[in-house]
Amino acid sequence: MADVTLTIDGQPVTVPAGTTLLKAAAQLGTAIPTICYHEHCTANGLCRMCVVEVEGQRLLQPACLVPAAEGLRVQTRSERVARSRRTIGEMLAASVDLSQAPELQAQLADYGADPERFPEAERRARPVIDDNPMYVRDYAKCILCWRCVQVCAEDAQYTFALSFDGRGYNTQIGTFFEKPLPETACVFCGQCVGVCPTNALKPKREWLLEQGQTPDEIMAQTRSGRRRKRG
């Protein structure tokens, strides 16, 4: 594929056509913050944390999706970009429990975001769903990045057990008809747990540790009291 040359924060860089602005910037050593983006998932441009300013474009552009083109002039940290990222962080902090998302917290700090800026916001509060022996789902911590839905679908597992329903603020991740996971197509591969950026999904054992159980107590629970009969 042909190479294109563009300018990022005033520095020229040459990359193969089709390379995203995120990767082109990385080639210059410029890190653009991301939330929903994952190297091994399809980029959707959902969270808008990675937006950059492209000269001549009316709107900020998601760097994880927009391909580099000849002559583009890109600003990755202009005042407009910084304000946008700061606001995204503040809105997330206002509605979601980010206490177990250290990367996101670092981004909030980096952009001077005030987590208390929207004190009136309605927080997303759902009880922890503990419906299987393998992992728990704490959607109060969910920022709707879709990674779990994508790895359950065509980014890895092709199982399609997870989806999202509802609209707007009421959008949420879940199973069809809110069935318990064991009754869905779920195969408990845990790819979703592996890509969750906020610890909304976590192994049951880790959750029990957080609940204050000791390692010995958790180890002793391995398998139920059901004894198999010997022939």
């Binding site: 190297e39 091994h40 206490s99 177990q100 250290p102 299987n132 022996p133 393998m134 992992y135 790895v151 065509e154 890895a156 597992q157 092709y158 199982t159 069935k179 064991p182 009754e183 869905t184 197509a185 779920c186 195969v187 408990f188 591969c189 845990g190 790819q191 747990v193 592996g194 610890n199 976590k202 192994p203 049951k204 054992r205 880790e206 540790l209 957080e210 390692p215 958790i218 180890m219 002793a220 391995t222 398998r223 139920s224 059901r226 198999r228 009969k229 010997r230 022939g231």
Partner: protein, 722 residues
Amino acid sequence: MVTPERVVRTTCPYCGVGCTLDLHLQGDLIYRVTSPFDSPVNHGNLCVKGRFGYDFIYNPQRVTVPLIRKTPPTPGHRTPAADLSEWREASWEEALDYVADRLTAIYQRDGSDAMAIYCCAKATNEDNYLAQKLYRSLFRTNNVDHCTRLCHAGSVVALLKSLGTSAQSNTAAEVIKNDVFIITGSNTSENHPIIALQMKAAVRDHGAKLIVIDPRRIELCDFATLWLPLKPGTNVVVFSAMAHVIVKEELVNTEFVEARTEGFQEYIRSLDKFTPEYAEAVSGVDRNLIIEAARMYATAKNGAIYWGMGISQLSTGTASALGLIHLALLTGHIGREGTGLNPLRGQNNVQGASDAGAMPFHYPGYMEVDKEENARQWEQAWNVEPGGLSRKRGLTTTEILSNARPGGIRALYIMGENPMMTEPNLNVTRHHMEQLEFLVAQDIFINESGAYADVFLPAAAWAEKDGTFTNTDRRVQRVRAALAPRGQARPDREILCDLARRIEARLGRPAARTAGWDYAGPEAIFREMANVATMLKGVTYARIDRLGLQYPVPDENHPGTPFLFSETFPSGKGRFFPLEHVPAAELPDDEYPFILTTGRLLEHWHGGTLTRHSQLDELYPEARVDVHELDAARLGFKSGDVVRVRSRRGQVVLRLNVSPKTSPGVVFIPMHFAEAAVNLLTIDVLDPQAKIPEFKACAVTIEVARVEDLPNPEALTNRGRY
């Protein structure tokens, strides 16, 4: 939020895919398992066993103290211990002295032929190397085998006969470079879940066409262009009919056949009878599907074949695998990237255990025991006097137990295997176990076989020891201790070395003639093996610290071998063998109208020693028999009904599952559940060449049973997965 005290990188202990794991620990508790997204094996993906199924190491039923039976069982009257009250705790000193005394006494009385060991495809290369070294160098016997005999022996023998080597030819991840691939006799989604993900991606993202040839409508049929639902035990006919079509329609790669193969003329004469019409009559597969599959595979740019136990676990296992080899040789779909003959190996280290010589016909590195120069080399390596090692081929897994009798095998050492679950026709296996004079079990749980033992030696589990595993695509990878062995458990390698020193002393072998049991660590053991088994010579622990190496690795600068046979086959030319159709030993009739086929489930592992002691058992707590909806409707059964499945050899009671996963006339029972052990039903006939039992086809009948007859009425599966 929990932060790990340490993160230990290791290799998954379950299947042959060999996924990279990062174990996150607080104290001795593994509370989270992740996988690096840059792992070339699994790209960050895991299955339920790898990610959540490690907790068996903490199960309270695990035995971590050496045990000796209070009343030593006597030959002919050996019974399984009902519970721990029949054992007493012993010190390691006492237990090992006792084992050494008894083994030495039997050896000195009855000689080499009375001794045998089952090595372990779950243990490390180093453990297996030592186990076979102990029996070969001290007891001078080749009665050394492991469960490879029960899984891919048919494939191994066929590949050795035709090509001269038995391993998977290509890297599993190359599946995305196939444009047509065949999956046969493998429920890959459940048994090699991560390879199945790559197969799905090959179809959905890379435009490959998939042909499934299997009696079961496995999940991958959803991704397949063609599904050929053959009757169990008719592989040879279907594969030969495909070859017939390829020859008749002149789709043979003549350049490849002329340059790289032999026996072609004689072979094509044997194909005359395998017309698609004949194949349809025998196998039940529509002739047009056979023709279409043959054309699709033969005209592919890159065609590949992946197979599992459905090929090898038959009395025609060797012939079935040869049928597949022929297809690759006819079309030249071998020796290039994205092609190949790929027997998907079951256990995490079944490849490695075979490589390490845990087999009755081969020293480490597949060096035949009956070749003088091989024996000489190992005599030198093990400091054995010239002529000291046995030149006689040993007994295989199934033969070892069936020869347990006065004048035959007297003492058996079982390292981590479970023949009382995995042998065919357990009704008979039990009587063989009874005949043993002395039995040692070295394991982490007292399983169905260990219960018969005189002595139980508690071994360290996979997360408690260092070493290497070799995965299905010949990749030697590191296994690391993440925590100290529980209780008094010890790594297998240490147990074996301590025992070997004791036996050597009792045999009166002078210190100058020791075979050598003092190793600085596992790498020293690996080095000793790799110095003679030259395919591993270039593998060092330093080189595989982050990333495994695919053997052959002939020297320390060699980058490893992702695919085999680019220039030549180890045997020179690939050989065709004329085949005949031989029906399964037991066919359905009026009295036993169904064909029973056996296999595995995603949530469980083989004999169940590990997964039935894990939270995995909560996900899938009971055996079920899968019956096709037409058969169920005809007999008036619905899902959840309790039935008795009976063969000429035994019976089990379990719940029935009306399943789209099987075909009419064929029923399926998984092998993991001791309380409904399917191997009470299976037939103990063997493939004449590979000695592998016919687990995949026998005749059964299904009758109504009562809930009270269920061994575990409260265990109920309510799962929505396919």
